[in-house]
């Protein structure tokens, strides 16, 4: 729900005429159910032994949950792309910078090379 169609300026993104496919409460409940299942799957990695697959599986589950909440509950799927850019841009920047920092600290800090 960004602006009323009658007041939005002419440059507004064409695609964000959202009234066409606005999700209904039923959609939201469906998403919530999926999220519940995903959480259960996350929990299962703690109960069952997935061996080396556990962590990759968790990473995927986290990412899927993230995207579902962002796309549906936060409406990114239906809103202008600009909002997605802020969301995923911020995420990507944070991820890159901090992962680089961790790599440097953990693997590239020794001054005592042979």
């Amino acid at each position: 729900m960004s602006a009323n169609p009658e007041t939005s300026a002419p440059q507004a993104d064409a695609e964000h005429d959202e009234h066409g496919h606005h999700p209904t409460p039923r959609d939201y409940v469906r998403i919530a159910l999926i999220l519940a299942v995903l959480t259960l799957m996350e929990y299962s990695t703690y109960v069952f032994d997935f061996g080396g697959l556990g962590i990759p599986l968790l990473v995927v589950l986290i990412a899927v949950k993230f995207v579902y909440v962002a796309s549906w509950f936060m409406h990114l799927k239906f809103d202008t792309k600009i909002f997605s850019r802020f969301m995923y841009g911020g995420l990507a920047l944070a991820f890159t910078l901090y992962v680089l920092t961790l790599i440097i600290i953990l693997f590239a800090s020794a001054t005592g090379m042979e």
């Binding site: 960004s2 300026a9 507004a12 986290i62």
Partner: protein, 197 residues
């Protein structure tokens, strides 16, 4: 001409745009604490480490927070439809679930503390409490905003056809929820799993 519903260049409400701009920057805030936490996973100075986590318990409280996102989006939906009675109900439900989550966190902190995970004892403890504590503060602020929203609809300052504040608070709330999705995975589950292996 300043405010929201007037003509704007992008056709977007200022307030909503501002919320998104701000949320983008919040990743760098939480990311910093998560990075510190990961760096100090093993730096427990002889005290307890990740084995202290009670995964079943945290799974439940995480789930409660996750479901609060559902009630939040339903509140917003009700508001756009002008159904203020239902909207208020969902808002309270959201705040309530947030409170349950916070209660869980307080309980969890208490247990950990008694088990010897003292804030000032190790970098691990400092990083854990600081990260999850800051998330808790975000939830707390969210609850305050929800309660404020609730009262403003009662006094009539927020009217049925004006869902922008509900939407903004909703965005913030979902964001805090998303951050917990990351924290629950990266702080609790993955290290615990790595430990089990």
């Amino acid at each position: 001409m300043t405010a929201g519903a007037h003509e704007t260049t992008l056709g977007l409400d200022h307030r909503k745009l501002a919320m998104w701009v701000f949320l983008g920057s919040e990743f760098l805030f939480f990311g910093g604490f998560i990075a510190a936490y990961l760096l100090y996973l093993d730096t427990t100075a002889g005290g307890p480490g990740v084995e202290i986590f009670d995964i079943p318990f945290t799974t439940i409280s995480s789930f409660v927070l996750l479901m609060s996102s559902l009630t939040m989006v339903l509140a917003h939906h009700a508001h756009t439809k002008g159904d203020m009675r239902r909207m208020r109900l969902w808002v309270l439900a959201t705040a309530g679930q947030g409170a349950v989550f916070l209660g869980g966190q307080v309980f969890e902190f208490n247990v950990f503390w008694r088990e010897g995970l003292i804030y000032g004892d190790s970098p691990f403890a400092s990083a854990f409490y600081t990260l999850t504590g800051f998330h808790g503060i975000h939830v707390f602020i969210g609850i305050l905003m929800l309660l404020g929203l609730y009262s403003l609809t009662l006094t009539g300052k927020i009217k049925p056809g004006q869902p922008i504040k509900t939407e903004m608070i909703g965005l913030y709330w979902h964001f805090v929820d998303i951050i917990w999705v990351l924290i629950f995975g990266v702080v609790y589950l993955i290290p615990e799993l790595a430990l089990l292996e």
